[in-house]
């Protein structure tokens, strides 16, 4: 049997894997900094997150182009094809998580996240960021079991977000309508509801990453559909 290693092709696949991992870590860093900015009302950190989003977007476009090049020029098949197709989709989820981290940073600039005593934004944020971290690890380690675990745990995050949203609405209803700071209250409520919604969406993107990783590993679309 003549060995045809397709060295350049294999190097391109390895590079893509390393680049997606690198982008994923950048995005996770953005998310963690945004959560810290929310927790500590750190406006400087919030600005850093917002300014760094361009770099993430550039990285996303570049890597998406690399995926298209690989498909066009190397025609990957079988596990290579699943890897490129999954990575192509995962890049979009990473970019969206980056955007949502930017949203969180903007909320940090707009006001405190701890204005409603029953709602612990930091707890929800920790769950969401753990989901993202574990999804990235599952992709890097090609760990199918971890993918299924991430999908199952997303229900917990969804429940936390649901409970928190209800608590915020209860707070609004309970407030006296002639409060002098009603405008401030409405601002706070809107911001907190958006924060909760964005954290819930971050969890959904983590599940998407897990779903694509499972397809990449086993050809199983069970979490995608």
């Amino acid at each position: 049997m003549i060995v045809v290693p397709r060295e350049e092709y294999r190097e391109s696949l390895d590079e893509l894997r390393a680049d997606v991992e690198s982008m994923a870590k950048s995005v996770l860093g953005q998310l963690l900094r945004a959560l810290e900015a929310l927790e500590s009302d750190d406006h400087e950190m919030a600005h850093e997150v917002i300014e760094s989003d361009d770099r993430i977007n550039q990285q996303y476009l570049e890597l998406e182009g690399n995926c298209v090049d690989l498909i066009a020029l190397q025609q990957p098949v079988a596990s290579d094809l699943r890897f490129v197709a999954a990575s192509f989709k995962i890049l979009t989820d990473l970019e969206r998580i980056g955007d949502l981290a930017t949203n969180l940073a903007r909320y940090a600039l707009a006001g405190s996240s701890e204005v409603i005593s029953e709602v612990r934004i930091q707890n929800i944020g920790e769950t969401a960021s753990s989901q993202v971290r574990e999804a990235i690890d599952a992709y890097v380690d090609a760990d199918s079991e971890a993918c299924r675990a991430i999908d199952e745990r997303d229900d917990e995050l969804d429940a936390s977000c649901q409970n928190a949203s209800e608590a915020v609405v209860r707070e609004l209803i309970a407030s006296e309508s002639d409060r002098w700071d009603i405008e401030q209250l409405l601002d706070d409520v809107s911001r907190i509801l958006l924060t909760i919604r964005d954290l819930e969406r971050i969890g959904d993107h983590a599940v998407n990453i897990a779903a694509r990783t499972l397809y990449m590993n086993d050809g199983e679309p069970e979490l995608i559909y």
């Binding site: 098949v77 094809l81 050809g219």
Partner: protein, 304 residues
């Protein structure tokens, strides 16, 4: 996991029911998933345990597969893997090779084509063949198409037929037009049907050969690398034609181009060195998630 992979990891296979391990215990055989593959649609050709020897060379080893009607089945694999040998078994072209010895059965609509008394001319009319290099006769385009039906006596156009009033020029014209249209060549040649076929381009010659094959009204069309001698445009036309023909015919195509197999076929059979059918499944399955690591390595270009 392929048959061979299974054999390598579970030694001392004794029969198709169970495996006797080195410790003597019998465990249930875990056959690779693809061996239970059933393509959709009615089976046109059912090949069972087909072996071919060329003298001492064991060219094809116990190949079994069902080929569904009105679909495209691609046979891929490295040179010398037995895919062309397999193709030629399907209309007994290997009978023409003295040293070839074929065992096993190949059923066309349930009738074993290797049983005694099979009319080979009739068989090859039902199972036509298109070869790698276009090989039109050095005759007119019209005669190339009508040659088969004339030989089979399906249309009569000779002098005797003319003298006795049995000539059917209109029927011949209709047959030529229909065959050339079906082969997507009519528009390009209808104003020069009496020109020599050797004046056509390579791609046109190949489509003429397909028209010639269609003129005798086959049920199965075997194609042995039908586009490997053609440029990309001519290749595209042949590929479009293959897909189109599968609406009416059962097409089996050998190709060296994995991309071509992926583009045109409904199911793909992968043969690897040693005349072994390693995996047979839906084309999407083969190219997205094959069972066998050897198939994965082959189609990914890790060896060839």
């Amino acid at each position: 996991m392929s048959q061979t992979d299974t054999a390598e990891t579970t030694p001392n296979r004794t029969d198709s029911q169970g495996i006797s391990t080195t410790t003597g215990e019998t465990v249930e055989e875990t056959r690779p998933e693809w061996t239970s593959y059933e393509a959709g649609g009615e089976t046109k050709l059912a090949v069972d345990d087909l072996d071919v020897h060329y003298g001492d060379d064991h060219a094809l080893k116990g190949v079994s597969m069902d080929i569904p009607e009105q679909s495209v089945t691609a046979l891929i694999g490295p040179s010398g893997c037995g895919k062309s040998t397999f193709l030629r078994c399907l209309n007994r072209m290997n009978d023409r090779i003295r040293a070839a010895n074929v065992d096993g059965t190949a059923e066309l609509d349930g009738e074993n084509i290797y049983q005694d008394g099979v009319d080979l001319v009739e068989l090859r009319k039902r199972v036509g063949m298109v070869f790698q290099s276009p090989n039109p006769f050095p005759k007119s385009i019209r005669e190339n198409v009508s040659y088969g039906p004339r030989k089979h006596g399906d249309i009569e156009t000779g002098l005797l037929a003319k003298l006795t009033g049995r000539a059917e020029p209109d029927r011949e014209e209709a047959l030529v037009e229909r065959s050339l249209e079906r082969a997507a060549l009519w528009e390009e040649v209808n104003d020069r049907l009496d020109d020599n076929a050797l004046g056509l381009s390579g791609g046109q010659q190949q489509r003429l050969c397909i028209a010639r094959c269609l003129a005798v009204d086959p049920e199965v069309i075997l194609m042995d690398e039908p586009a490997s001698a053609l440029d990309p445009i001519a290749t595209s036309k042949i590929e479009d034609l293959i897909e189109d023909l599968a609406q009416d015919y059962t097409v089996v195509v050998v190709t060296h181009s994995m991309q071509q197999a992926a583009r045109v076929s409904d199911q793909t059979a992968v043969f690897l060195t040693g005349g072994e059918l390693v995996e047979y499944d839906d084309t999407e399955k083969i190219f997205e998630n094959p069972e066998s690591q050897r198939v994965e390595d082959y189609i990914s270009g890790k060896f060839g």
